[in-house]
């Protein structure tokens, strides 16, 4: 196997901070409630509402 190039510096967690970093990640985890909230946004909207939102975008372009 070819030697892998060293990763970019900005993708490496500081060596002394690994445990702390994973503890941080544990506090910032998407839970079932999180996904439920997101999915509520994905519920449908009326055709009139969709057309109004499109008009908001188009009116700015026409100005």
């Amino acid at each position: 196997m070819a030697t892998m190039a060293k990763p970019r510096q900005s993708t490496i967690i500081k060596p002394s901070k690994t445990r702390e970093f994973f503890a941080l990640m544990e506090k910032h985890t998407a839970t079932a409630d999180y996904w439920k909230t997101c999915s509520e946004s994905a519920a449908g909207i009326s055709r009139n509402a969709m057309d109004r939102i499109k008009k908001l975008c188009r009116d700015a372009k026409d100005e």
């Binding site: 990763p7 970019r8 510096q9 900005s10 993708t11 490496i12 967690i13 500081k14 060596p15 901070k17 690994t18 445990r19 702390e20 970093f21 994973f22 941080l24 990640m25 544990e26 506090k27 910032h28 985890t29 998407a30 839970t31 999180y34 996904w35 909230t37 997101c38 999915s39 946004s41 994905a42 449908g44 909207i45 009326s46 055709r47 509402a49 969709m50 109004r52 939102i53 499109k54 908001l56 975008c57 188009r58 009116d59 700015a60 372009k61």
Partner: protein, 195 residues
Amino acid sequence: MSSFIYVELEESKVSPSVLKAFDCYHPDFNDFLANDALKFSADGMGVTYILVDEEEFYNHNISVIFAFATLQAMSLYFHQNHSPDLFDLPCAEIKYFAIAGTLQKVLAYDMGGFKYYSTVFFEYLLMKLYEISTRVMGFQAIFLRANDNGRKLYKRKRFADASDYIIPYTDDDPLAKCTPMILSISDHLYDIFGI
């Protein structure tokens, strides 16, 4: 009922004029979408998804782009137990996320009025990422580098500020103006990585 949908840029068959008409008030982002996104994808640098009216997509007549996002697979690396070896945490990076300028800082009254359009469109993107991570290609976290415009939104959506944990690298961010932020989508990280 109507719905928004994130669709991959090439698959969308959106016209060049509609692409060029998208304006998020950030010229670099506009320019990327109109001129570079397709080649970026072909080179494996990131896949761009545009948020459009689902009905228009299926009828092949997309007239407006509400938002776009560019995603790339990447890893964050870490040392473990004083070992010099590097281990990796697979992530999806949101390289770009932008919404139409006229919808920025606007409450989505047509969708209940309790959230901004930016929040709603970002939540759509998060659902897309959840689908990708569980049905297309697994990853354990979502990573991004937030500019001033996006930081509040991502914090609202529970992304952690990882500035204290990541080694800064000026080539990635010469002006050091972006904040690395991360959200875990796996609640078994300790088990998986043996930390």
